[in-house]
């Protein structure tokens, strides 16, 4: 016998001559584990009830071994899918025209580029600069802009409602309002170039916010005084969570108009703006969506 065969034989003897494992025992009928349901007002424990009053964090969800129960996995995957779906959504050009908005393009050519090149989403294409020069009203108090941002779905969902309410608010306060417009693949800082070109005193951009778990329908709005390329985040004020379960379109519009009014009055925006002179509600950090964590998955039989 060769040395190798000898080694194999010796080890095989040590590990058990026939098979390294003894035969598996007979399978026994399994009892299903206790039914775990994603916490709902009907099914939740006292800890879950307490949690529901204070936080949207998913606590009290139990475990199987050290992992999640199946219904938690499905809930989580549904929430993640909702977020990813919103990010991947695109704003059709027809939608902009159907809604009677001036159709603007940034320097971004596709969605992938939009995600990877924020610099291009902050600037208008040459054709859109031209369109703005010839077709948009100039030297206005307020220039509102709608954009897809990180959720076209949110823009399509409630963008027109927020924009309409905002224009109404501004006009009722006696301000001149610029031509309603909408930009595809737009980022927040796009408001600087547009506002500067049009000579707007205050520029407000409303756009889809970065989706969170389970949410893709939130809009944010950013307001800047004396818009010009080179403004930074500290020059802006913003409100977030504009959607059905957060700040309603109407209350968002009136808060945005309050902020714009304060900017016109104080001649500044961002960290320099004295918010104590603005109606309350604009400074508080708001609860992020979803305020109520709803069970997303229902299975019919």
């Amino acid at each position: 016998m060769s040395a190798t065969r000898e080694l194999i034989a010796r080890l095989r003897e040590q590990l058990g001559e026939s098979a390294p494992l003894s035969p598996a025992g007979p399978a026994l009928p399994l009892t299903p584990p206790p039914r775990r349901v994603f916490p709902s007002p009907r099914t939740r424990s006292s800890l879950q009830g307490q949690a529901a009053a204070h936080t949207t964090a998913l606590v009290g969800i139990g475990r199987v071994g050290t992992r999640y129960a199946t219904d938690v996995v499905l809930q989580f995957q549904a929430e993640l899918a909702v977020a990813h779906h919103a990010v991947a959504s695109l704003l059709p050009e027809e939608w902009i025209e159907q809604n009677g908005l001036l159709n603007l393009q940034t320097r971004v050519s596709d969605h992938q580029e939009f995600l990877l090149r924020p610099d291009l989403g902050r600037r208008l294409s040459d054709a859109s600069r031209q369109a703005l020069q010839t077709r948009a009203r100039k030297d206005i108090d307020i220039q509102p802009i709608l954009a897809d941002g990180l959720s076209a779905e949110a823009c399509i969902g409630s963008g027109m409602e927020v924009l309409g309410a905002l224009i109404g608010e501004c006009e009722s306060r006696g301000w001149t309002v610029g031509t309603p417009m909408c930009a595809r693949f737009g980022r927040v800082w796009l408001q600087d170039e547009i506002g500067e070109l049009l000579g707007a005193k205050v520029c407000i951009i409303i756009l889809g916010e970065r989706p969170g778990l389970g949410t893709g329908d939130g809009l944010s709005a950013y307001v800047v005084h004396n818009p010009a390329i080179g403004k930074t985040d500290s020059d802006r004020n913003m409100i977030s969570n504009i959607h059905a379960r957060g700040t309603s379109p109407n209350s968002a519009a009136s808060r945005l108009a309050d902020l714009a009014g304060a900017m016109l009055e104080q001649g500044t925006s961002g960290v320099g703006l004295d918010l104590s002179r603005v109606a309350p509600g604009n400074t508080a950090t708001e609860l992020r969506a979803p305020q109520v964590r709803e069970s997303l998955v229902e299975v019919g039989r």
């Binding site: 800890l47 949690a51 993640l80």
Partner: protein, 497 residues
């Protein structure tokens, strides 16, 4: 230990040819004066490599470092990435043949323009540097990988390394190389717990709340503790960055830790100046936090400087509530300098290493990169985020830091949950000191996806790791763990008062 003696085998034989280029290694502990950093980096005339007959020439070590980096969207955004995969390899070939000494003389931001460059240069351990400075980056990679090179030997060399050297060798390493060396590195620190001992794997409990609702924060904390999380720190990112709110949250966490006798540390991650004000309110504070960037200008954007952190560190020396001797907590992340236009044309891996060059001044208790948080324009997808997580861990450990990682993604990055779970296991296997933990990995304030309460015990079980010994004892006393297995109270938040 004499470092020169540790260099053996192929490294040593290659070394012979390179010795004549710079310094003698036979006198490793002797302080030899070095030439001062040159202002005009003119001497690099032959940064050239040829692949298949095509020559690739580079103008400066900074360009070589950038182009040697694996593809990252942030380097593309900055316009400094290699133009092709072949050029990338050419840059690595050039880099492999530069000596550590040459890299010391060519910091990516000039000495006169940046206080971090000055800090690194002026405080470098000359004796340790002299042991390795003559090695090429390629030789240094091999020395790190040699079986004979131990964690203790790496620990001795570490104070002689500049961020540029560490970033350079990182670029020549594959993911598994990064893990093999990362796992060798030994960094053990103490605040209340002893963190980083071999065989341990810890977690920060991150019970953030969008309104700083104390009940909400405490409920989440209790749940995490019941899964064995929180031995690195219970650390809250506050929604409101004020001294009052910082003190308020710290007192609540302190109360919970005292009621339940939990051996760990607490921290509220507001701006360092806000935490300094909070200390004036006489609140407990085990660890002090700050985000760091890799250039002076980047740190200005964060509102910090070496002077300010020196002051904060000194204040904590007197006022902290933890035992120490380590009590600072820093977060970093590739892309932070570029996002504030403060990158000076340097790549994000090198700039990340420079954060560690800053952090090590304060012998911190915790350092972690927040690897996928900053967005797809810096790290586009699962491949880039995974790579960056392993790079940051490796570089931090090599520089002697207790390196953890916030393995995470934002929902607009191209990374799936399965890929993120992979990264958690890779980091655990690489000896990463700690990960984050929150309910289903969902940060309800910052809106991103990280590690969950369930992930920490899962990774520990897979890799045969335990929490810090102090926390382990508490978990066993509480019946949350029984030895290395879940105990009867595992997962029961009701057990924590």
């Amino acid at each position: 230990m004499t470092l020169g003696a540790g260099l053996q085998g192929p490294v040593q034989s290659k070394l012979r040819t390179s010795l004549s280029r710079t310094l003698e290694s036979d006198t490793p502990r002797e302080h030899t004066p070095l030439s001062v950093p040159t202002l005009a980096p003119e001497p690099f005339l032959n940064l050239l490599a040829t692949i298949r007959g095509i020559g690739y020439r580079f103008d400066s070590p900074k360009e070589v470092l950038a182009k040697a980096n694996p593809l990252k969207s942030g380097d593309v955004l900055a316009g400094i990435a290699a133009g092709s995969p072949v050029e990338r390899v050419a840059a690595r070939a050039v880099l492999a043949n530069l000596t550590l000494c040459e890299l010391r003389e060519a910091p990516v931001v000039p000495y006169d323009e940046d206080e971090l460059t000055r800090l690194v240069e002026d405080s470098l351990d000359q004796a340790a540097f002299l042991c390795v400075g003559h090695l090429t980056v390629g030789e240094f990679r091999e020395w790190l990988l040699e079986d004979a090179t131990t964690g203790d030997m790496i620990r001795s060399v570490s104070p002689g390394l500049t961020p540029e050297m560490v970033a350079a060798v990182c670029k020549l390493m594959s993911n598994l190389d990064l893990m093999v060396v990362g796992a060798k590195c030994k960094v053990v620190v103490r605040a209340n717990n002893t963190l980083g001992l071999p065989g341990t794997f810890s977690s920060r409990l991150q019970p953030n709340h969008p309104k700083d609702d104390l009940e909400g924060i405490l409920l989440s904390t209790r749940e995490g503790l019941a899964y064995g999380c929180g031995d690195a720190v219970i650390g809250v990112n506050p929604a409101t960055d004020s001294a009052e709110s910082t003190a308020h949250i710290l007192r609540a966490l302190d109360g919970l830790m005292k009621r339940n006798g939990i051996p760990t540390q607490h921290c509220v991650l507001s701006h360092v100046t806000v935490q300094m004000q909070a200390l004036e309110l006489d609140c407990p504070m085990d660890l002090m936090f700050q985000s760091l960037s890799g250039t002076e200008q980047g740190n200005q954007a964060f509102g910090v400087s070496i002077g300010l952190l020196d002051e904060a560190h000194a204040l904590m020396g007197e006022r902290r509530s933890s035992r120490g001797p380590n009590y600072m907590y820093f977060e970093t992340g590739q892309g932070s300098a570029l996002s504030s236009e403060a990158h000076h044309g340097a790549d994000q891996v090198t700039l990340e290493a420079r954060c560690y060059g800053f952090a090590r001044r304060y012998s911190p208790f915790l350092v972690n990169s927040v690897v996928g948080f900053i967005g797809p324009e810096y790290l586009a997808d699962g491949r880039q985020i995974t790579r960056a997580g392993l790079e940051d861990h490796f570089m931090g450990k090599l520089m002697g830091l207790p390196m953890g990682c916030d393995a995470c993604f934002t929902y607009h990055a191209d990374m799936g949950q399965d890929e993120l779970e992979n990264l958690k296991v890779l980091l655990g296997a690489a000896g990463c000191t700690y990960l984050m933990s929150m309910p289903v990995g969902d940060d309800i304030m910052l809106n991103y996806q990280s590690t969950s309460y369930h992930d920490i015990p899962s990774v520990r079980k897979l890799l045969g790791k335990r929490p810090t010994p102090e926390f382990d004892a508490w978990l066993n006393k509480m019946g949350i763990m029984q030895g290395d297995a879940p105990g009867e109270n595992f997962g029961k938040a009701e057990m924590i008062r």
